[in-house]
């Protein structure tokens, strides 16, 4: 051991901090044994440090800590879009597929219903009022023009018979326009409203033909049988 060893200020301070390697520590220990003044300084350092270590800490008030805890909890809650991102990909993909399937099924069902004229047929058809102006008709125009002559036209009255007749005329018009779907609906409505409709034989003829035109041969056959029964009764 070198008896003339004198540690540098950094070496002494490192020794105080306890970060000197063992060999150097032994040399400094020997030096301090010979130099009580240096040993005293290091001792005072330790005392000062100890005094401050024991210094009581100051603390925030409880309500402040409570606020901090609330904030911490709030920061853990993800926002809406972040929550969406947190959904596992497989689960998200399953949701997307399900939404598409539901949309597809809804659309398919809608298409199926709209392609079948009888499926959507209302139990009571909404028949728009037919604006019939006798003055425009060749047969009645002259009569209407005669003053004081009262014309009783079944089409201008509000009786149920008049309504049926209007509906029947409209149905025939639709048939002539080759709108067999709407014509069939209207024939059906007339017969539901009044099974004893006096032009029913003629109506059935148009109806059966409309159904044939639509390719509804089964229904057409059914209507033919009904027609036969009506004719037999008559």
């Amino acid at each position: 051991m070198d008896k003339n060893f004198t540690p540098s200020k950094e070496q002494l301070f490192d020794f105080h901090l306890g970060i000197t390697d063992p060999a150097l520590s032994r040399q400094i220990d020997a030096y301090l044994a010979q130099n009580p003044e240096a040993k005293k300084v290091l001792s005072e350092f330790s005392h000062i440090e100890t005094a401050f270590t024991e210094l009581p800490l100051q603390h925030p008030q409880d309500h402040v800590l409570e606020q901090v805890r609330k904030q911490a909890a709030k920061q853990l809650k993800p926002r809406f879009f972040e929550r969406l991102l947190l959904i596992p990909r497989t689960r998200a993909a399953a949701w997307v597929v399900m939404v598409f399937v539901v949309i597809g099924l809804s659309y398919g069902l809608h298409e199926l219903r709209s392609s079948n004229p009888y499926y959507n047929a209302p139990s009571v058809a909404k028949i728009p009022p037919i604006k019939f102006n006798p003055a425009e008709s060749n047969g009645t125009a002259s009569l209407a023009a005669v003053p004081g002559k009262k014309i009783i036209d079944p089409l201008t009255t509000d009786s149920p018979e008049a309504a049926e007749l209007k509906a029947y005329m409209k149905a025939k018009l639709l048939y002539n326009q080759k709108n067999y779907v709407e014509a069939s609906k209207l024939f059906n409505h007339i017969m539901i409203t009044n099974p004893e409709f006096d032009k029913r034989v003629e109506l059935y003829t148009y109806w059966i033909d409309s159904l044939e035109q639509l390719g509804e041969h089964g229904l057409a056959t059914l209507k033919k049988e009904e027609l036969h029964k009506i004719q037999e009764v008559k």
Partner: protein, 204 residues
């Protein structure tokens, strides 16, 4: 991994904070329990006002929670927290235009300080005495105020917060060697002040 309440006090700060980031609120409460006194006292060293310290304390932890994803595990949690605390204190002081209570660094240069060896070599009036310190808390606080700001802060972080020089360097934006030098000067200055005030008295 689920932990029992008794496990939390033994978990390092960084792991606790990671657990908080993963949704563990108990981990945060444990961190708060550990840090509240240290951080509040540090704040008080800047503002010397409880109302303002409460406000800053809340702001510090709000920043910690809000910026939780910016924390890097390679940095010590204590350093990160101290950095946020310091910056928040300085911002607040700037905003409220209060004087920085700690001594200004103006005109101070560490290199002007007398060397530790010179101090050690200076004959003490009572060289053979074993010394003890009997200093009141208030006097200790006053002692710290007499140090330059960086030394005072370094001393507080080292002794009270038990941070390493690496951690102090990170939070004070300097090297660990600079932190160590500042600490050495702080300790040496404190010893000088204590001796002048005759606070060091005979133990026996």
């Amino acid at each position: 991994m689920d932990l029992e309440d008794k496990d939390y006090p033994h978990i390092p700060n960084e792991i606790l904070f990671n657990r908080y980031r993963g949704g563990d609120l108990k981990a945060f409460n444990e961190l708060l329990k550990r840090m509240k006194g240290l951080i509040y006292t540090l704040i008080m060293s800047y503002v010397h006002n409880h109302a303002q310290a409460d406000e800053i304390f809340q702001e510090v932890f709000f920043k910690v929670c809000k910026n939780k994803d910016q924390f890097r595990e390679s940095v010590s949690f204590k350093s990160w927290l101290v950095t946020i605390t310091k910056n928040t204190c300085i911002d607040q002081l700037r905003r409220k235009k209060h004087a920085y209570k700690m001594d200004s660094l103006d005109g101070h240069n560490d290199d002007d300080r007398p060397a530790l060896s010179e101090k050690i070599a200076t004959p003490d009036p009572t060289p053979d005495e074993n010394l003890a310190i009997q200093i009141e808390n208030k006097e200790l606080e006053d002692l710290l105020k007499q140090l330059p700001a960086e030394q005072s802060e370094t001393f507080y972080l080292k002794v009270v917060m038990e941070m390493t020089f690496e951690e102090i360097g990170t939070s004070m934006d300097c090297s660990s060697n600079t932190a160590k030098s500042r600490y050495r000067y702080a300790l040496d200055t404190l010893r000088g002040i204590v001796k002048r005030k005759k606070l060091l008295e005979k133990a026996v």
